[in-house]
Symmetry: none
Subunit: 420 residues, 3 copies
């Protein structure tokens, strides 16, 4: 495999991303080295986007809880999940009782640190495992969060590739989560591998155009849609939201609201015969398909995941025990097949009205006698069905010939400028 | 039942109606007391309406046959079916032989007085049962008909109710028959009950517009169409011709010529699972669906009846042994369901592109942690499916929630101006 | 049968036709006496037509092989199949060995003289049966071919008939084969009989327009399309290529590329219930349907034959043991039914909105009493379904009446200017 997705993910794992801020920018600097095609689109704090407003930019330097004994807990530098995302700054001595009001745990997973955020309401808080919480000693605590919430921007990254057709194939994933492997990094690394695949294999003369975006979930896709809805509705014929694509447990298809657009059809077709496929209706939507398929938006986008539901989700357990290169490659293969279907299908089209004069090209017997035409039956049949609307596989089926023979004959006739 | 249809029918039974004249006006004075919404549209005698011409107005005071012995037969005042409708005036002594040429009976129902008319050819005549006819004594007879045929008008009664949409639901029945209960009065009394139901239950903010007409059969609907065809074709999306809707024997659906327009679909759906349903094709049309579905008219109108075919039809036996309050109420219920479907269906539509920001409205948790969203699943699902094209029942089914809960959530979100 | 197709074919059998030259002109002089409507369209030698070029005109006076003993073989005057079509002139003494390189036989039919041509490559050659070839004595031979290849023209014959509609029904057959009966003359004689049928039976007020063409196969239809493609695509709604229509063995339908256009539908429908019907897909195309259905041409043309495949094909055995008047008449009948369907179908249309006032025309009882309308049910039903879009056969089926009765009623109401 040419694309070391797992390495990329591991490199990026330690960074504390959120919906805004320097963690996201650092992540994208890394990806831009892999694919310099990304352009940044900035939305300023305060800007209205549909029913929403771009929040302040959040940056975080350090955070911890310090017991009067000097013992530290919930150290951000040890695991960035310990801090509630978008926590306001604080530096204060408080009682244990007071502290506990700001401690979040996942009761049903006593050993896991949960992932908690409070983007739109000013709060501060720390996340611990239940076990850790229980071990907090009695006494006073200093709570220290060195964060900032300032005017800034929400950034979206877009890489577009023109093809012969204006019609676009669309891929979207998100960058807004701190150190979690499947529900964050798997999507962006797969998306970057797909960009590379496209450039490596279809460097020019692409049939279709492509749009890849990386953005913070929900607020990012809403901002992006508020700016590009019109062109997206005009051009996108098929799109996938990539989320949790790094484990090797299952393959999941999350239907669009429509349930049967081109994206649905292609993904279902591609997963046919694959083991461990799970199909979810739009009722089980979770990621940005929520926005892409919202009423009035109605883009032909469906969700693609490996395991959509897994117990490590949104905890510190979502790490490289969950995500593997094999898991990522399984996802890559599915999306690659879909890209190939767009780029590799051939629709032979005769360049000549009526039957071409094959005799003058020595491609047809010059003597006419019955029985003599059997040998060029395939040639004549391929020509007769090359209407530019039927792909070569369909033609092979129609003329009852093996695909390979038809394909070779197509190449042969294309070289001779008879077919296009 | 709030609407005493059977009482109305019994009150109106004695009146001698015809396609024009005072009997019809008296009938409508009664109905206008129930529903003052009726407006009268007059077509003057002689007016051309498509291939037809409005006839003279016919009024009748008295009629009978008097034997030389003084014995009277076929007394109009005893039963107005005894007189052939539109009979010209006469006052003459004639032989029994001559008289018999003007006597009409129903041979296959020897005890019944048939209902006979001659609107467009000047005639006079009397109707008797076969049995009565056989008993006519030998001798001379005086035939006495005090009728008049003068320039006047043909009157049509229309009640229209505006709704938010210009699209109309249309109900038509006829007033032109003398003392018969099912094939006359059942239709007009049902139509009046439906007007009252509409006003009582949807007094304002109606979604659809409604048009109710009472008119003489055939000539009346042709006249009406000649005047309103254009607006009817533009606005009417569903219509029913009400005829013979008062007995409790069967439910009948008479298909439109098209056979599958909205009226057909709704009536068939409403009658699904009902006992004793009879379906007739357009070949069995009988009443004004003949005009509403004529070539070039093509309105989406089908016929609704209880028994479409019954032996008492067009005789003096069509009385309150045939028509009952229960029968009328059965018909009322069917039409009520259809009106309800138009008025009560709600098509929620999001007023906001992408997901609304529910957090800022305190309708969504401001803290994000896994497991926290279960409680607002219904809200999010309702929003996600509120595309303005799916009604609330269909949404409830799609999102697998009880209708009532979905409806309450809809009300809640509508109040907050998120849904329309 | 009025049209002596078999006589025409027998008269024309001896002529040596090819894709150009005097044999074809002589044939057409004969047909022009039957149908003077044919116009000649000339394409000059050298003219480019799509991917092709019009070849030189070939004329032939005589040809034979003469053994040094004076014995002659392969005498053109005895059977014009003995000469390879488009043979260049020659007059030379050669060895038997050399001669045999120019002798063509049909190995799988040792008694048959095959039909061989070499239009586009300069060659000379003779055709013999295997048996004849074996009997050629040792010794020297004179080969004598008095042919000429000169600038001239390729001629196409077209007969067009205007109808009320510009939409055209199209018939094509070919004249380019020497003495063979089924795979040549059956098509042109049927086409001429159809022209006569059209003129005899629909001399004026035709509903549709008609286009009949006789042309050399392949090069002729390509030339014709290169000139008339635009108007043909605009106007032709249904067409048939007539080939091998003279035997009485089977009926064959060769699907258009589309496979389900009007020509396909009508031919399939017409052959329904007929014995010995063979259906071929477009993969089995053989004659000018190859050009008419080529990508970018896409005319609604399918092929019609009696036996499409038969062992006598392209040999001297394709004679009047194969083609019979009965066989030709079977083909004629099929095509006649199709012409009739275009010309005889009636789409009754009411000239009056709503029901016409039949009473005033004495076409409806003036007295109204139940049971009285049965007799005019057919009349009322015909009127109710006369929407101008349903043909009289379909109406008859819908109203469950015999076609004949409906047709008579239609005539009756048309005369009275109620229906159109």
């Amino acid at each position: 495999m040419k694309y070391p997705m797992i390495k990329w993910a591991k490199d990026l794992f330690p960074i504390c991303r959120s919906i805004t801020g320097s963690g996201q920018r650092e992540t994208m600097r890394y990806f831009k080295r892999i694919n310099p095609d990304f352009k940044t689109i900035k939305f300023k704090t305060g800007k209205k986007i549909y029913d929403w407003q771009i929040p302040k930019e959040w940056n975080i330097e350090d955070a911890y809880i310090e017991h009067e004994s000097g013992a530290r807990f919930a150290e951000f530098k040890k695991n960035n999940l310990h801090l509630v995302g978008y926590s306001i700054p604080i530096n204060k001595i408080i009682s244990k009782k007071e502290l506990l009001k700001h401690i979040y745990t996942q009761k049903d997973q006593p050993l896991a640190i949960p992932y908690v955020t409070s983007y739109y309401k000013a709060r501060w808080g720390f996340c611990l495992s239940e076990k850790q919480k229980k071990k907090l000693p009695l006494g006073k605590y200093k709570v220290f969060i060195k964060s900032s919430l300032k005017k800034g921007s929400l950034d979206i990254y877009q890489a577009k590739f023109k093809g012969e057709s204006e019609k676009e194939i669309f891929f979207s994933s998100y960058i807004c989560h701190p150190s979690m492997a499947n529900n964050e990094l798997s999507g962006p690394v797969l998306l970057n591998a797909l960009i590379k695949y496209l450039k490596d294999n279809f460097p020019k003369n692409r049939k279709f155009s492509y749009r890849f975006v990386l953005l913070p979930e929900t607020i990012g896709s809403i901002a992006y849609l508020s700016k590009f809805k019109k062109e997206m509705k005009k051009n996108i014929i098929c799109g996938f939201n990539l989320s949790c694509v790094g484990d090797d447990r299952a393959y999941s298809y999350i239907a669009s609201r429509d349930g049967n657009n081109l994206a649905d059809q292609l993904l279902k077709k591609t997963l046919k015969g694959v083991k461990n496929v799970k199909k979810y209706t739009f009722l089980e939507r979770g990621s940005d398909e929520r926005q892409y398929c919202a009423p009035g938006i109605d883009l032909p986008v469906c969700g693609f995941s490996r395991s959509k539901k897994y117990k490590e989700y949104h905890t510190d357990k979502d790490n490289f025990n969950v995500v593997t290169q094999k898991g990522l490659e399984g996802s890559f293969k599915v999306m690659k097949i879909i890209i190939d279907q767009f780029e590799k299908s051939i629709y032979p089209k005769s360049k000549i009205f009526c039957e071409p004069n094959l005799g003058k090209r020595n491609l047809y017997p010059t003597l006419s006698q019955k029985g003599i035409y059997k040998d060029i039956r395939l040639r004549m049949d391929l020509l007769a069905f090359s209407d530019g609307k039927t792909n070569i596989k369909e033609i092979a089926k129609k003329i009852k010939q093996p695909y390979k023979k038809v394909f070779l004959e197509y190449k042969f006739l294309k070289l001779r400028k008879i077919l296009d």
